[in-house]
């Protein structure tokens, strides 16, 4: 018998199909659980609504990141070509009317900054990289990236109870319900 103390992470229940998972997720949401998640090999259409998740706020980050890019492109080109060292090329003016020549750079930097914001914003919102997670200790969890659909309810949730939650998951159609523990 192991003498390491283990904390309970929660219950992991498998569901046979995307439709079963969807219907079960609605029930978990309606039962008032907050700290839980569905694990699927691909994004299931409509599952965000079934789980009661709000729309991602990533677009806001990306918008402001992109606007920063536009400003950077404008600033870089305008300040260097018009203010600091007016660069006269082929007799063309170096004043506010030069700005159309800067549009390609402003556009590209908008997209570049938006792209970086998308990448880092996404990693921050997903809370990844996180190489270690209690669920990886489960024997069946590796199928979440293959062909199985899971619901994991965390013990941190106020509505969690060792027997009540297990029965609840069985009632909504969960199979091979596993108590996942994390090493301390």
């Amino acid at each position: 018998m192991s003498t390491t103390r283990k904390r309970v992470y929660g219950y992991l229940a498998e569901f046979p199909s995307a439709s079963a998972l969807y219907k079960a997720a609605e029930k978990v949401r309606d039962a008032g659980f907050r700290k839980w998640d569905c694990h699927t090999p691909y994004p299931v259409h409509g599952l965000d609504g079934a789980m009661g998740l709000k729309r991602s706020i990533l677009p806001w980050f990306v918008f402001f990141g992109g606007m920063l890019g536009t400003a950077t492109g404008f600033g870089l080109a305008y300040i260097t070509q018009v203010e600091i060292y007016p660069t006269v090329v082929q007799g063309k003016p170096t004043n506010i009317f030069t700005v159309p020549a800067f549009f390609p750079i402003m556009f590209e930097l908008t997209i570049l900054f938006s792209g970086f914001t998308t990448l880092f914003g996404l990693l921050a919102l997903m809370k990844l990289p996180r190489l270690n997670h209690p669920l990886f200790a489960s024997r069946q969890f590796h199928r979440a990236t293959d062909d199985a659909f899971f619901i994991a309810v965390e013990a941190r949730d106020p509505k969690f109870s060792p027997d009540g939650t297990r029965k609840f998951l069985e009632d909504i159609g969960g199979k091979s319900i596993e108590l996942v523990e994390e090493e301390d």
Partner: protein, 498 residues
């Protein structure tokens, strides 16, 4: 036959059912999720077929000799080892640059534009097409970097303090190019990598503990398929697709500005941005077919990359090829109709001058060969498909050659006119980049999932949680038929491999 006195049939009517066209199946033979995982992961987990080694070793060798030695000789001896001189300052170098960048555009189009237009058939080919984009841009980047001559001064391109107290010319299309191509490479890389994270997790979960598992584990960022992550992930994917669409249009337009913003007849024309973009998509799809048709055969991916996918790609080649052909004819027409002497002469020199053979190659490969795809028999015959794709690759290279070299060889001053011939170093460098592209792509097949596993699973009908909610479906009197695949099956052309 139905008289006025007969009533309209009730929903559960009797009689022959009306055949209704259904969406084509994107995955044949009713494969399961696990089969898809096994088949795609099998490409990189199993021993590579002999043909992989047969293609990889020569490609890697050609890349090392052509690119490695070629560039070393170039930088150590000087740009005079190339064939350029007064006044043909751009030759194979910029031709190759535009050729490779153009090829990259199909990958972004498949990933971004076909995503926004909800073309689910893109899911089987988008990973390989994006990889192709990354490798093509890497090959392209070699040319503008090294054609400057004094490569050790390339840092002059960056807006940092230098001893000459001069800033770069941000009004120049050559510098716009630097921003456009770097942005394109970065965004394509981000899009490709983020798309791969769930698939790398799939491979990680199948690995035995060890170095492989650790590496795939690091690069999959600890992905666990939770819907809270998928929710943000899907938003990021949509945003990147929306960003990449104007990017793919702008990058090749900016590349065309290298020519269009000059004053030389044959270059100074507003048709260039849309002409270049259409040509890029055209050439890129041809390259996608060139690599996907053999890969599909070699790794047994017929159920994932079906004849319908190839049919769609052939149609896109036909469409963009026709647009490119139209652009060629419009150029000729406007040159004539404008009455502008220098413009008319520029095109006379293209057709009858010293490079008439390149113009002929361009016209026949780009305008004539894709017309074969009007015929279904040609789209279904994989040899014809490969032949046309190869012809288009060659034709698109010649298009850039014609645009650049014939124009430079015949500019305003007759005393300047000069024919250009590439040196062996230039030829070796180009062949080296072809080897580099192939070698990188083969390495990609060896180590990374060549098809987007999660997205392909998502396209299966049973992936939609509402697909079995047909209790009160009104069309109970219809029989759905997947027309194209039905026809193929009738001809026995559909392969159903186990």
């Amino acid at each position: 036959m139905a008289t006025a006195t007969e009533h309209a049939p009730s929903p559960t009517r009797q009689g022959p059912k009306i055949p209704v066209l259904e969406r084509e199946k994107l995955i044949l033979n009713g494969r399961s999720y696990h089969w898809i995982t096994e088949r795609i992961c099998g490409v990189l987990e199993n021993r590579q077929p002999f043909l992989w080694w047969l293609l990889f070793l020569p490609s890697a060798l050609i890349a090392m000799v052509g690119v490695g030695l070629g560039l070393t000789y170039l930088v150590s001896t000087g740009v005079g080892v190339w064939g350029m001189s007064n006044r043909v300052f751009w030759g194979w170098d910029i031709t190759n640059f535009v050729f490779w960048i153009g090829i990259g555009h199909a990958g972004t189009l498949i990933s971004a534009v076909l995503f926004l237009t909800r073309q689910n058939w893109r899911t089987s080919i988008n990973r390989a097409a994006e990889a192709m984009t990354i490798f093509a841009v890497m090959c392209a980047g070699i040319f503008p970097a090294f054609h400057v001559g004094r490569v050790w001064m390339a840092w002059f391109l960056a807006p940092i303090p230098n001893s000459n107290a001069v800033w770069q010319n941000f009004k120049s299309p050559l510098l716009w190019d630097v921003f456009a191509v770097s942005t394109y490479f970065t965004i394509s890389l981000i899009f490709w990598y983020l798309g791969m994270v769930p698939d790398l997790a799939t491979i990680r979960d199948r690995c035995k503990p060890g170095l492989r598992k650790m590496l795939y584990g690091i690069f999959s960022l600890g992905w666990r398929g939770g819907n809270r992550q998928w929710s943000h992930y899907e938003m990021a994917y949509l945003l990147l697709a929306a960003l990449s669409t104007p990017l793919v249009l702008s990058v090749h337009s900016v590349v065309s500005f290298d020519f269009a913003t000059s004053i030389v007849p044959g270059w100074h024309t507003t048709i260039f941005p849309p002409y270049f973009v259409a040509g890029a998509i055209f050439g890129g799809f041809a390259m996608v077919l060139t690599i996907m048709v053999p890969a599909r055969q070699l790794y047994g991916l017929h159920d994932l990359i079906t004849m319908k996918h190839i049919d769609n790609m052939a149609k896109i080649i036909l469409l963009t090829g026709t647009i490119v052909g139209y652009a060629y004819l419009m150029e000729l027409f406007v040159a004539y109709y404008s009455g502008a002497k220098y413009e008319m002469d520029a095109f006379k020199f293209r057709i009858t001058g010293p490079y008439w053979w390149a113009y002929l190659a361009m016209m026949s490969c780009n305008v004539l060969s894709p017309q074969l795809f009007w015929f279904k028999a040609c789209r279904e015959n994989l040899w014809v498909v490969m032949g046309v794709a190869m012809a288009v690759n060659i034709g698109m290279w010649f298009e850039r050659f014609v645009i650049i070299v014939t124009t430079l060889a015949r500019m305003f001053l007759p005393g300047d006119w000069k024919t250009y011939n590439p040196s062996y170093v230039e030829m070796a460098l180009f062949i080296g980049t072809i080897g580099m592209f192939l070698a990188l792509f083969l390495l990609f097949l060896r180590f990374l999932p060549c098809i987007n596993i999660a997205e392909v699973k998502w396209t299966l009908p049973e992936s939609d949680p509402h697909h079995d909610d047909h209790h009160d479906h009104p069309d109970q009197g219809v029989e759905t038929v997947a027309a194209y695949q039905h026809e193929l099956h009738g001809k026995g052309a559909v392969e159903s491999k186990a």
